[in-house]
Subunit: 371 residues, 2 copies
Amino acid sequence: MSQASSRRRSVTIQDVARAAGVSRAAVSKVIRDASGVSPAMRARVNAAIEELNYRPSVAARSLRGSSYTLGLEVPHLGNRFLTQIVDGALQALEGTRYQLVIAPADGREGYGAIEALADRQVDGIVVVSPRVDADWLERLATGVPVVMLGRHDRSARYDTVVGDDVAGTRQVMEYLLGLGHRRVVHLTEEAAVTAPGTGSPHALRLRAFEEAVRAAGSPELARVVRTGQTEESARATMNDLLSRHPWPTAVFAGHDQLALGALAALVEHDAGREISLVGYDNTDLAAHPAISLTSVDQRGPEMGRRAVAMLLERIEGRDEPQHHVVTPSLVVRDSSGPRPVDNPEFRTSCARPAAAGTPAAGACDLPGPRR
Amino acid sequence: MSQASSRRRSVTIQDVARAAGVSRAAVSKVIRDASGVSPAMRARVNAAIEELNYRPSVAARSLRGSSYTLGLEVPHLGNRFLTQIVDGALQALEGTRYQLVIAPADGREGYGAIEALADRQVDGIVVVSPRVDADWLERLATGVPVVMLGRHDRSARYDTVVGDDVAGTRQVMEYLLGLGHRRVVHLTEEAAVTAPGTGSPHALRLRAFEEAVRAAGSPELARVVRTGQTEESARATMNDLLSRHPWPTAVFAGHDQLALGALAALVEHDAGREISLVGYDNTDLAAHPAISLTSVDQRGPEMGRRAVAMLLERIEGRDEPQHHVVTPSLVVRDSSGPRPVDNPEFRTSCARPAAAGTPAAGACDLPGPRR
DNA sequence: CTGAAAGCGCTAACAG
DNA sequence: CTGTTAGCGCTTTCAG
């Protein structure tokens, strides 16, 4: 009667205490299972909790203790690699009292989302957006444990989990060069993203690409091509690239999303058979037979697991920064293969009918990627 | 000196008040921009806030007022359809003071995640996991605004946003039957998911499928085939199906993830040309030229937008339940086409080379889906 | 228009 | 082992 039809006031620790005939502190101890409660009392309190359907308020608890919440800031969720990371993070949290919440970045950079998490008193934050300022992160990390995932900076205040991008890229390049490819394009994002010194994975991949090419002694045949961050953008760029000869014989995309865009262009130009394509991230789609994309597996779940584990360690009291490197491995699929006949005008169209085109017979048994 | 090297105590409203030479209440008013503050005071307070880099504690605020947080509970993030919903939700939040947090369901059902959100005092919850009990949700909804997304139940306490699954399915069936298909399979999840009365979208799609078939007068040629909820599972089921003749001429999958699994099997059996495939959700992948999947567009962003808008309305004081239906539309792509020659033994393999097979010439110009 | 005072629900320190 | 007593940082009356 006292609360009209509006929102029901929830049951508080006080109510439980009253129902069980004990003090609030006693109830508090029971729910945190702190020491110093008699079994009898514990039982009574638990009964009352059960009966009243009591749930402690995380907000109130956060005011003094912890919120038992870990935050994961992510750039756009369209990125499949994130799914792997989230899966790993959830695994690491299983059986703990902690809950994961994900805050998607609003704009291009994740400041808003990260601050929102911090404001909500999460006990730890995993940052995935690669473009947040390192100093800013350091400052943040003085207030709450932070793990930066994916970037190669080495802060003294926050931890990092990264893939070994140099090793991953080397594997790609050894593979491609070993197959005879020389005219190979590295399709990557705009310069801001690959600027050295940012520690961005794409910066390292770019550098490793250039080094591999130089080491192979044929720098003039390899090129870096810039595109946007979306699949759509990669598709446009690749289409552009394919509108001029000579074509590259292999394309190494900075990540699978770009590779998918490039693949779309290859399909449209019916060039899948002549041009090898390699991605990075080994996103679940790469394995689909209709895509079958050669890609570098970064072990996303492992990364997510480690990041959460590190946060938990910090919460437990660890004080030294820790930097964990995950070793990737190349997964070869049908999108790549030996260099085909090295003729710029070489074309065949038997392999994969263009979207609405008419399939035609052709020289299907030439060497080349199997698609 | 008083706080050692450990965590930095954050700046509170008290500090700001002191710095600005006003009371805490005054500061509070400024940050909430409540009425009753002189411009001069506002300016001074804002300056102090700026200077001290003050950020209000959401936890403390939640204790009395609201947390300015909306929660989105989701089943596994691998589902691409969710991405669309999240995008829409974020759009609807743009320019408001509210922040979106996503809580991924722990197990098969979302209770844990939903409770976690409620415990964290979010101001509203969008529930996507379809299997949570309706009564349980009703109870939840007495304490916090709730929108159930995707399920067709009509509660008096919580709002709903759903796609018109009957209309969507009808479009699919009219399309397929119109092309001459009769031997069509509806690939859907296990019976628990399609049980009538749950209001699950898959229940409605199944029923609409059966009705369409009945209306077409050839019930014996259409079948419902059950599979798990994963792509992998759909692939296995479909492979199984393709190991026996006669094949269906068309497959209507309950959602795109199942369709992708089915597509994998089609590719493996090199059956893409003979069997039309239709999905549901029009996930971004469906548009990729290497996939080119005919699918029903549910307008996920619109759904996400509406769900959040409804929550906001509830927070503003709306009291009557509201149930919003979004009309879907079929997007035809290359995975479907006219019924091919109706011979159970009919096979061709010119269309799409199997994963590691050798392409061969064949009767490519027969009618059939263009892949 | 401004500020003092009283909590929100919980935990932590301490006294019994 | 149990209960009392102070707050955590903020909002919200309600007097001035």
